[in-house]
């Protein structure tokens, strides 16, 4: 066994297998969706509509005879691509805004952070919906709306890290040594911020997947004929009485994906940050330390 394999294995163990498994399956499905779908996700076959589990259609068909399994797989691709695009865009813009605001400081920082606070005090889904109301419907309008709604949190985190690091001795000594402003920002402030931002992004991916599904559920996100879990769900709602399978399957897919991202993000955060421990744990540790100290001095 090479050493890196052991290291990767222990890292995976600390992250938790179930979360990794769920996210990995999602990624594989999304990457190879075209090759994995047994049928075309948009092919209608009205003769075999609303079928239940069978050998021909493993997870059955919907009211238009489209294969549910194929649509679920195609849906994972739609969701993950949209999530990735929004996270990357919001991260890029948010990091730039946060870094400038934190580095420059003064009235600019004040104005930017007040508006960020204001946007964060309104639920992000409502911000995204308002933006869709302005831009109109459509895939890229949805992506733009979600990006705008998601920028503030990234700007806030980046700004926090930048403000915390900019006055640390190592940055100040670099400044004294003559490092340029660009160099400071690019090589010293950004990498420090990136760590916490990446951890945040992994939790955020789950929240974002939920938001996309909710928008599609309302008919304001991803439009048919593209497959998306929220859109599959709203399609199947009228048939809830006799075919709950059609809402349970996309619902479960979404829940599992979100849970996977949430869990992964939480574990990543707990690996990274000093753990917030409860008062009880703290007292227990203090007691242990005291006992050790006493036993040392006794010897």
């Amino acid at each position: 066994m090479p050493a890196w394999f052991d290291a990767a294995l222990s890292f995976a163990c600390r992250l938790g297998w179930p979360a990794i498994l769920v996210v990995a399956i999602d990624l594989v499905l999304a990457l190879f969706a075209q090759h994995l779908t047994p049928y075309s996700p948009t092919a209608q076959d009205l003769m075999s509509a609303n079928q239940t589990f069978s050998a021909a259609h493993l997870l059955g068909t919907d009211h238009l005879g489209r294969d549910t399994l194929s649509r679920l797989i195609a849906g994972s691709q739609t969701t993950l691509v949209a999530v990735a695009v929004v996270v990357v865009l919001a991260m890029l813009i948010g990091v730039v805004i946060g870094t400038i605001s934190g580095y420059v400081g003064g009235w600019l920082d004040e104005i930017v952070m007040r508006s960020v606070d204001f946007m964060l005090s309104v639920p992000s889904l409502i911000v995204a919906l308002a933006m869709i109301g302005i831009f109109g419907l459509g895939y890229w309008n949805m992506v733009a709306a979600l990006t705008i709604a998601w920028i503030p949190s990234y700007a806030r985190i980046t700004r926090g890290v930048v403000v915390a690091t900019v006055h640390q001795p190592h940055i100040e000594s670099l400044w004294v040594l003559g490092a340029s402003r660009t160099r400071l920002i690019a090589f010293h402030l950004l990498p420090a911020a990136l760590r916490s931002i990446l951890v945040y992004a992994s939790v955020d991916a789950g929240v974002l997947a939920l938001a996309i599904a909710t928008l599609s559920f309302l008919g304001l996100g991803i439009q048919p004929p593209m497959s998306e879990w929220g859109e599959m769900f709203v399609d199947a709602m009228p048939y809830l009485d006799f075919s709950p399978r059609q809402i349970v399957l996309p619902g479960l897919a979404l829940t599992l994906t979100v849970a996977g991202f949430n869990y992964l993000g939480e574990r990543l955060a707990s690996l990274d940050a000093p753990r917030a421990i409860s008062g009880r744990t703290l007292r227990k540790r203090l007691a242990t330390a005291q006992r050790l100290l006493v036993s040392r001095t006794m010897q």
Binding site: I126, G133, I134, L220, I247, V248
Partner: protein, 312 residues
């Protein structure tokens, strides 16, 4: 105490003003010609003359600050303009739809509070019992399951399998039960965990050890001492979930075919009816500010430390 409350009230008023500017600027950043959008909504044939006429009618050529003042002045008097799509006064529509959303959110809030506090209290009463495990599982599901999924499952369970509750429309208290549970069950399960942790934290403090050593029963300590001390944390967490119920209402109202304010907002987004859009946003913002204000005041009144200071 009264002075602090007054200061909070003033800052809330300022916040409302800021929120109204933000809601109004949505029209200012509206891409394309607003007059043309309105004209296209009215009729299929749009000439430049009609567009100009609408510009004059709505005063769209005036400078933005002037338009804001005109809009805000009318909004204060309860006139939020007309819906571009239906031509109905927005304020009237909002008042007509308000009871549904208010019932949904208040009922959901009550359910959240009862479920969260109840589970947490029972869990603290018999610690490490089945209830603790239920709280754990519920909070895990609650953090990841989409609200419309949970709502649909509840509809299936109570409406299709057991057939005991109406699953559609707004007709009497029986039809309120399912929507209120649907909107409250996820925040309720998350709140139960928050409250349980807060209670456990309080029960591990030293004053509890003192009380136990003096011979007080555990149940009495829990009700008399730990519960009041754990309340502020719980109330704060509850307020956040309560404010965010507007977001959940966006999904829950369509599922149960309720014509509330959230459904009105979604409709406005779909048809790009900016007049309705900005009015709904303003209503939401005022609601958020009110919730925050009342939570500040309530937790001030509830916090044993602060009330003790008042006595001293």
């Amino acid at each position: 105490m009264a002075q602090v409350a007054l200061r909070r009230l003033l800052s809330a008023l300022i916040l409302v003003a800021v929120a109204s500017v933000a809601c109004f600027s949505i029209v200012a950043v509206f891409p394309g010609n607003v007059a043309r959008v309105i004209a296209e909504m009215r009729s299929s044939t749009v000439s430049d003359e009609i567009v100009k006429q609408i510009e004059v009618q709505y005063g769209l050529k005036d400078p933005v600050p002037l338009r804001y003042l005109r809009w805000a002045g009318r909004a204060v008097r309860g006139d939020l303009g007309e819906s571009l799509r239906t031509g109905q006064p927005v304020a009237k529509d909002l008042v007509r739809r308000a009871p549904l959303t208010v019932i949904l959110i208040l009922g959901g809030g009550a359910f959240t509070l009862v479920m969260g506090m109840g589970l947490a209290f029972l869990g603290a009463l018999w610690s490490d019992s089945v209830i603790d495990r239920i709280i754990h599982v519920l909070s895990l599901i609650g953090a990841s399951a989409p609200k419309f999924f949970i709502a649909a499952l509840l509809v299936y369970l109570f409406g299709v399998v057991f057939r005991i509750l109406p699953t559609y429309g707004f007709a009497g208290p029986a039809s309120w039960i399912l929507p209120c549970i649907s909107i409250g069950i996820i925040p309720g399960s998350i709140l139960s965990r928050v409250a349980r942790v807060a209670l456990a934290e309080e029960m591990s403090r030293q004053y509890v050890v003192t009380a136990i050593s003096k011979g007080l029963p555990r149940r009495r300590i829990l009700v008399h001492d730990a519960l009041p001390n754990a309340l502020p944390v719980t109330i704060n967490a509850f307020a956040m979930h309560f404010a965010f119920m507007v977001q959940a209402a966006l999904v829950i109202e369509p599922i149960f075919a309720w014509q509330g304010i959230a459904a009105y907002f979604v409709e406005a987004v779909r048809f790009r009816d900016y007049q309705v859009l900005q009015s709904c946003l303003l209503v939401f913002c005022v609601f958020f500010i009110l919730v925050n204000l009342s939570v500040d005041l309530i937790s001030m009144a509830l916090d044993p430390k602060q009330s003790r200071q008042r006595l001293a």
